[in-house]
Amino acid sequence: MPKKQNSTTTRRRFLVGTAATTGLAVAGGVLPTRFAIGAMAPIKIGILLPYSGTYAALGNAITDALKLRIEQAGGKLGGRDVEYVAINSEMSVPKAPTNTEKLIKKDEVDFLVGPVHSGIAAVMAKIVGKRTAPIMIVPNAGSNAVTGPLCGKNIFRTSFSNWQPAYPGGELMAKEGHKTAVTISWKYGAGIQMMGAGKEAFEKNGGKVVQEILIPFPQVEFQAHLAEIAALKPDAVFAFYSGGGATKFLQDYAAAGLKDNIPLYGPGFLTEGVTKAAGAAAEGIKTTLHYADTLDTDANRNFRSAYQAVAGRGADVFAVQGYDTGSLLLQAAAAVGGDVSASADVIKAMEQATFPDSPRGDWHMSKAHNPIQDIYLRQVVNGEQKLLGVAAKQLEDPATGCKLV
């Protein structure tokens, strides 16, 4: 990973300069300087993702795919070199303000990519939203708020809103003839929002949620609640967990014998990237997500083999989100010939970006800067995500509370 030893010294010299010529800078002397630097200096991409702890795999997948996409396009953005400044978010919300400020004010990045965690996303969006630069691209965190109440001109998302993959899941559950359901998830933003969307869709289509179980994040002791579900005997269970939590939930659910009696549904994260770890416990589970491994397109096949080659592991939805983040950056920089300081033009280019070569199929930005995308229906068969069809065509998040809409 290119680090920036040299830029530190440059910056120190720059600081001294600023102190001496504060007046000049205020007078606007900075702008031409910046452009002069801009022509030769690399475009800086700040990355704030988890590289340790439970979600490290997500951070790595996103980073690897992002770099892969830019390498595929020649390793340059709008003709300029690229410099990555990556910070491990450690999934720590208290550290998020400092980390974000550091990337913005110290490293003066042009683009800010991150995060995975919705809480950190809110912190970043709040800081970035007050400014005109840099432009923030969320490659995962699904918090509805980021493209809702916290949305902003310079805040984009290439992943999903929590509402998107969950709503079709609730619909599916009702369509498959289930009348009653229990929802179960972690008690945090993503869990609450996804369960809310699933419940909304399920009840709109004639179902009834009989119990909503929220377990404190990130606890993974499910036994007591599984016994509770067994006693309630609903027609179906709608669940959202991800990563290690999902593996454990699926295993416990199967081991308790519930899997054979009460079918499990959920947003695709429930089975995404965990099928190998969960093994038989994941077999047969139907989920809805904006991606499926087995999408039968050239774009997807090419992406998967290229990613496997550089990363040494199979691609997942997180890699796809990182990859599309790369595509978005390429289009934005190309539209302005590399002069990313002209932020209004960059934003316009990003709003109009298209993704014909996206592994998940073509999608585009909504007015709130969230993907309008297909949501697929998948089922785990022999440890693979088998594509059953499209659950919702070009689904758009309601973006409640966003002033851009």
Partner: protein, 289 residues
């Protein structure tokens, strides 16, 4: 809650308690005998789980993996004791907490370097993959029963080892009067090294045997650490019996807290701890000073 559900929840609570006991017993042993607060205990648990995952992949069987993994854990524990912990015996708790916190950071990063950041499952050995039906919808896996039996076995084994063996005698003596043990010509340093290695092995063993139901992922040690401390403190630091009772209390309180007080479920165990320490400032079976 009908009677059947109640009994099932009791079963769940007791089983969770057994698992907690396995982790907490090593912690309380190190605490009680050596006077060391080892907050890296959770890291040993994590390493155990990763060893189980890795060795199962290599040799194809969890039991064999555990047999191979335990000596490795003892070795790791021994190395840590010799290199770091040995400097802490005459230091305040504060420094013990800090140094072992440093160890957590190192172990977490080492885990990342060795095994990457993905999460993994460990297959339940075929012989134990069945289940006992409890109700028409619910079954209870054999493997969970197996863990409970193993935990009881470990508890009994520790009881015998501490009360009936020479090492146990030295451990008991070391816990109550270090000077006397030294005066008797026993190398207390050696006893400590053994105890620490055993404690690490116990934590590792918990991680290994629990791996099929906990799954294996980065940072898994942090979660179990705090709750293990709660168990140890409730029971009284250094008391194996206390750890056992504490583990049962916490297992049941947590299970029923989740069902009966879902809004406050995670606060329940900590509230229980505060209440117990209010009435028994040294824990339930702690020795008064």
């Amino acid at each position: 809650m009908d009677l059947a559900t109640f009994l099932i929840q009791v079963l769940n609570g007791v089983q969770y308690g057994f698992m907690l006991f396995l982790v907490a017993s090593g912690l309380t042993l190190i605490f009680g005998v050596m006077g060391i607060i080892n907050i890296a205990h959770g890291a040993f648990y994590m390493i155990g789980a990763y060893l189980a995952f890795w060795l199962t992949g290599v040799v194809g069987n969890l039991f064999l993996a555990i047999v191979l993994g335990i000596p490795l854990m003892v070795a790791i524990g021994y190395a840590v004791e010799r290199l770091a912990i040995t400097h802490l015996y005459h230091r305040d708790h504060l420094y013990q907490v800090l140094l072992t916190y440093g160890l957590i950071l190192i172990f977490n990063e080492a885990q990342k370097l060795l095994w990457g950041t993905g999460f993994h499952g460990v297959r339940v050995p075929a012989i134990l993959s069945g289940a006992v039906p409890l109700t028409d919808t619910l079954v209870y896996p054999h493997y969970r029963l197996f863990i409970s039996v193993v935990c009881l076995g470990v508890a009994a084994g520790m009881y015998v080892a501490i009360n009936r063996t020479k090492l146990g005698m030295m451990i008991r003596a070391g816990a109550s009067n270090r000077e006397m043990v030294e005066a008797l010509g026993i190398d207390i340093g050696k006893v400590f090294a053994i105890v620490f290695s055993l404690g690490a092995a116990l934590a590792g063993f918990s991680g290994m045997i629990g791996a099929p139901i906990s799954s294996v992922y980065p940072g898994m040690g942090d979660q179990i650490l705090i709750i293990s401390f709660v168990v140890v403190v409730i029971g009284g630091i250094g008391s194996i019996k206390g750890a056992f009772v504490g583990a049962m209390l916490i297992g049941l309180a947590d299970t029923f807290g989740q069902v009966l007080l879902p809004e406050l479920s995670s606060m329940v165990v900590y509230a229980l701890m505060a209440i117990i320490l209010f009435w028994w400032p040294q824990g339930l079976f702690g020795r008064r000073v």
